[in-house]
């Protein structure tokens, strides 16, 4: 996942790449902190991906930031085309559409600010609304 690329006339090219798990973790943190979001929902594929990541992380002495509930996809062949999908459960106290819009903004701002990566799309899917 290409983040940014630099290279002046006389200097060899350099490229910084931010991998999908990093973007997923930042997006998950931003979404979780949005008012009205109760939790992020993870499907079976998400749980498997997180388990795989945690296993790899244990090997490298890493305590990985959680990214469950967020799917990051790079659309080939354009490496800059990054799509993010967030699955979440929201509170019935707030308008779901407003919460979803706030999540989109929060994810966009957090990922761009923290990684320099600009996303092509951020899809928010509300899988459940809990009434208190």
């Amino acid at each position: 996942m290409a983040g940014n690329e630099s290279g002046a006339d006389m200097t060899p090219p350099s490229e910084c790449v931010v991998a999908e798990p990093v973007i997923a973790s930042i997006a998950a943190e931003a979404a979780q902190a949005t008012p009205g979001v109760l939790r992020l929902a993870s499907g079976v594929a998400g749980l498997v991906a997180q388990l795989r990541r945690e296993t790899r992380a244990r090997w490298s002495g890493l305590d990985p930031a959680p990214g469950t509930g967020v799917t990051v996809r790079r659309d080939e062949p354009e490496p800059g085309d990054i799509s993010v999908r967030v699955d979440l459960v929201v509170s019935g106290d707030r308008t779901a559409v407003r919460v979803a819009t706030a999540v989109q903004r929060a994810v966009r701002d957090a990922v761009t600010e923290n990684t320099g990566v600009v996303m092509r799309s951020i899809e928010v899917s509300i899988v459940d609304i809990e009434l208190s």
Binding site: G3, N4, S6, T11, P12, P13, S14, E15, C16, V17, V18, A19, P21, V22, S25, I26, E29, Q32, A33, R53, R56, A57, W59, S60, G61, L62, D63, P64, A65, P66, E113, N114, T115, G116
Partner: protein
């Protein structure tokens, strides 16, 4: 490019990255109980020296990444100067994020 040159350059890159707080090589952790006979620092596994491309895989322990990556890029370029890889492309890949990087 000889094997000693590769080893020296890898060591220089790892030393350069050591100066950049918030990023560390993505390699098996070396525990205090690691056997002393282990011939190499596992961190060398995070560095690939190709003919035209130097790739280094990193774990982020702080955010935001752009200033950290700029510092890492400058440090690595300085380490690569006067080596056979001085003109090689450099790719820094942040493969994962430590939970300590997040404010929550």
């Amino acid at each position: 490019m000889s094997r000693p040159e590769s080893a020296e350059t890898t060591t220089a890159l790892l030393a350069a990255l050591d100066e950049v707080a918030g990023l560390r090589p993505a390699a098996p952790a070396r525990k205090a109980s690691a056997p002393r006979w282990l011939p190499v620092d596992p961190a060398v596994l995070a560095v690939d020296l190709g003919e035209d491309l130097v790739e280094i895989r990193l774990i982020a322990e702080a955010l935001p990444l752009p200033p950290l990556l700029s510092a890492a890029e400058a440090a690595c370029r300085a380490a690569l100067a006067d080596t056979p890889w001085a003109e090689a492309a450099l790719r820094l890949v942040v493969v994962d994020l430590d939970v300590s990087a997040l404010p929550g």
